[in-house]
Amino acid sequence: MENTLKITKVESYIISLMDKLPILSYYAKSRGWSFLITWGHRLAGLTLAGYIFAHIYTLSLLFSPAGFDADMRFLHNFVFTFLEWCVAIPLIFHSLNGGRLILYELFHVRAEEIVIRFMIVLGFIYIFIVGFFFIREAQQISATLFWSITVATSLITFFIVLFKVWLTGNSILWKLQRITGSFMFPMLIGHMLFMHMTYLTGHESKTILMRLQSPFIKGIDLVFIVFLLFHAGYGIFSIFADYLKPGPLLKSFAFLIIIVMAISAFFGIRIVVAL
């Protein structure tokens, strides 16, 4: 496979750095970079899935706002803020790469190298911006405007993919994986960004609870959590299905995944509905 794209100096420098990591260069030479990216996608997906459980747990603390605030204060230190910022890495990587995969598989975008380059650049910018907000803390932006734009974009990507994928002969679950992904693409990127425009939006019970009174926000969050749990659940199942032959074992795992996701959905929905 010949790389038709000219590699820039910066890129070749980065590649030469990565070449120094034995595992990376071993697989890059023997299976190609796409192979490593796919592993990255898988690990990022699993990390995010792990994160969502923790996330639902912390959000459920909102049922006693004082406790939530106490915990948040406790977590508001350098280490945890840094870790929180780190979540942006798997998030943006998985999102952009998921977008790339959807483009590749369904929209005939085969100029891979160019897309990957975009992905890397956009990813860096995003991580940088999130970090910047972390430090600046107080932004002035209209929440309604922000969320209207984000949701509108989400709906657009959602419908584009929906129309494209619906007519194919793929299984419904597989289609939903792409459709939910496409909805979450602007949604999740926006979510993380928004939660850090001011620290309080994402970490102070009063602000959060107030926001959650809006039926509009409630609606979005409901769709969001359901889509996400489905997406993560099917994603995890699909990893299992790669390693296990169809049979009782795989069935039990599928069942287990459904249970876990259903319980998470219950708690997640309860937060949005009841608060």
């Binding site: 496979m1 071993y26 697989y27 030479k29 023997s30 299976r31 190609g32 796409s34 192979f35 990216i37 796919t38 592993w39 996608h41 898988r42 995969l101 590749y104 598989e105 369904l106 005939h108 085969r110 891979e112 007519l167 194919t168 002969g169 793929n170 299984s171 597989w174 699909s238 299905a241 790669d242 390693y243 296990l244 032959k245 169809p246």
Partner: protein
Amino acid sequence: MSGVYNITLEISRYDPDTRLSWVQTYQVEAGGILRFVDVLRKINDEQDSTLAWSSSCEHAQCGSCGIIVNGKPLLACELLVKDAVEQFDTHRFRLRPLTIAPVLRDLAVDLEKAYDRVHEAKPYLINPAPLPKEGDEYRISQETLDTYIEATQCINCFCCATACISSHHHFIGPNATMANIVRLMDPRETAKEERMDILYREDGVYRCHTSRACSFVCPKDIDVSHFLALGKEGKF
């Protein structure tokens, strides 16, 4: 043109009689333009006649000689020593059998079993469209042919299947999936539905995660992942 290379081969061995596996190291002095099959033959001739490996055409055209060299599945009959030294930037090579089927002995793998997957994909025309006129050929424009001819070059060497992120347990494999897709694209095939059913089986195209290792390793330079993506896109 050639020059002599001193290379070290660490080869996975397996003895079906005792069921023991081990790694054996061979030191070989080889001309740069020897291919890996020549090197293995040299080992047979000069050091160890018991080392088993497979090949047939030795023209890179039959796909019998696939092995894994330093992690990369490739055809042993087209890898020149000097190119290997350059490509992997080392004089040490770790040779392993393909992981796609049970090992028979050393580097020889029971590809006959792996072939079952290709058979499942029905590489033939299930139900060819009627001819325009008896004794006349079916017309296919060069344009149509160009959309899938690349994929017909596949020699079923199973290098792609070995490299794939997901094939080892429950995936019909990139090459078998592609064999089906070729016939979906073939204007002479009328049994599209039956083919779609094969394509969208749980062990079919869903098991592909577009890791594109298939395209990367394919010795015939087929962009396998492109064809698999066509399968997902579902447009034929």
